[in-house]
Symmetry: C2
DNA sequence: CGTGCACTTGATCTAAGTCAACCCCAGTGG
DNA sequence: CCACTGGGGTTGACTTAGATCAAGTGCACG
């Protein structure tokens, strides 16, 4: 257990940064206690594989901090990212005993984990939990379908702009509105967008040269005019399309 | 009400063709009665719009027979299909009052509909129903993510082969294994696959000329060797990837 | 002070898109 | 009965966005 883990474990659920957005969001105090009893924290370093595709799945859980990626791959090595896990996102199916995707830590990432069989039992006896689980699954399904229009119909420029806008938006909810540290390498971005690393690089450069974004090193990004970025993304200013 | 509707309504749930695969699959007889009380049937003709994106959503429900499509579109007219609704598939979010996608009848299609507010209430008081709903949502999420690898990484040939294989597989469960009537026009196929109509046409022709499939007119398809088709799809013989 | 890794940039290639013609067949109406 | 029309589908010629291949750059780390 790292230092971070201990901190959170001591503080308990009430001080948890994802308390009101995660799977536990609509739990009563007593239900929270039950969840608390079967939870444990674990942290992975950036780049570490958390789960292999097809591997045994003893745990399910939520991202507390950091970022992880969900990927599927074909036999010949082609890879497609199918999900980006940010704080409060849930991973793992309670009713499946193997993982359907590979899960990799994109940054250092800490999970709040539940033993799968115990979680399954709690789920079937706690309607609040089941309801929240359903709601989150449906939200994820909508997000996945939004991503399908990006993969199927958007240009490389629009893809990159969409991803950057999404990251800025999610980062904004936890700090300064127009500045973020990219949790993904160019490689991971390419995998998410259905592009090559070179194309991602070129499009980021193009957006920078046009003054739509500014970069601080390879990872830091600032956007003075989000609506310009959203226009480049091919979305309405109001458009959803959350990662 | 059409003749088909009356037939099913008279027969009741026990004779329903999707009884054991739909949202009601794990309901007890008494629960089924409750569902039965709030259900109604309705049929749309091929090509009719069932729901517009953003429209008010008074109903949720299951496809009983036929096929409908779920699409999202961008302001400039680009369209991406994000789901194919076949018998037993569920549509609509109980907790949202507007439709997130456009729903169009691909063939004549009959739905078993529930008033949304009544369904929501039943859901919250019937754990079996909630559990089944969650399971189906998670399955759909997996399917959506499988579709993402197709959209992001597969070639036109692989995309077309994958779609044909999926249709043949789902049709097979209700009849002859290697023969099906395509429920989609070339246009709808293109929309689903993130391709143009011309590319779909060329790839279908190519698969036919190579003897991997045979066509009876534009819609009838026969496949003597499914594993050859799956190889063209870039999947393992055993691979899942269900539409 | 290399060595390696993440990223960028440039030159070239190609799969799929675009544009345009055409086929086939089912209705429709003269 | 047949000409006309229109929608779905096919095919061909050409274009192009993004992939591929191949050098670089610049920074972090032993």
């Amino acid at each position: 257990m790292t230092r971070i883990d201990l901190q959170i474990a001591k503080a308990g659920c009430s001080a948890c940064p994802i308390r009101h957005r995660a799977i536990c969001a609509s739990c009563e105090p007593t239900e929270l206690d039950q969840l608390s009893e079967i939870k444990s924290y674990r942290t992975w370093r950036a780049g570490e594989t958390i789960l292999m595709e097809g591997a045994n799945l003893p745990f399910v859980g939520s991202v507390v901090s950091g970022c992880a990626t969900l990927t599927r791959s074909m036999e010949d090595g082609r890879v497609q990212m199918v999900g980006l896990l940010l704080p409060s996102d849930f991973v793992g199916r309670h009713d499946r005993d193997t993982a359907a995707y590979e899960v990799v830590a994109a940054t250092d990432v800490t999970f709040c984990l539940f033993r799968r069989d115990e979680f399954r039992h709690l789920l079937s006896t706690t309607p609040h939990l089941m309801e929240r689980m359903l709601q989150m699954s449906l939200d994820e399904l909508d997000a996945a379908r939004d991503w399908m229009i990006l993969l199927g119909r958007k240009t490389a420029r629009e893809k990159v702009a969409t991803l950057l806008a999404n990251i800025l938006r999610r980062a904004a909810s936890a700090g300064h509105p127009l500045r973020a540290e990219l949790p993904l390498t160019r490689d991971a971005m390419a995998s998410y967008l259905g592009l090559t690393i070179e194309t991602v690089s070129r499009q980021v450069t193009a957006l920078r040269k046009e003054g739509i974004i500014e970069m601080q090193g390879h990872r830091g990004i600032t956007c003075a005019d989000l609506s310009a970025l959203l226009t480049a993304a091919g979305d309405d200013e109001d458009g959803a399309t959350v990662a």
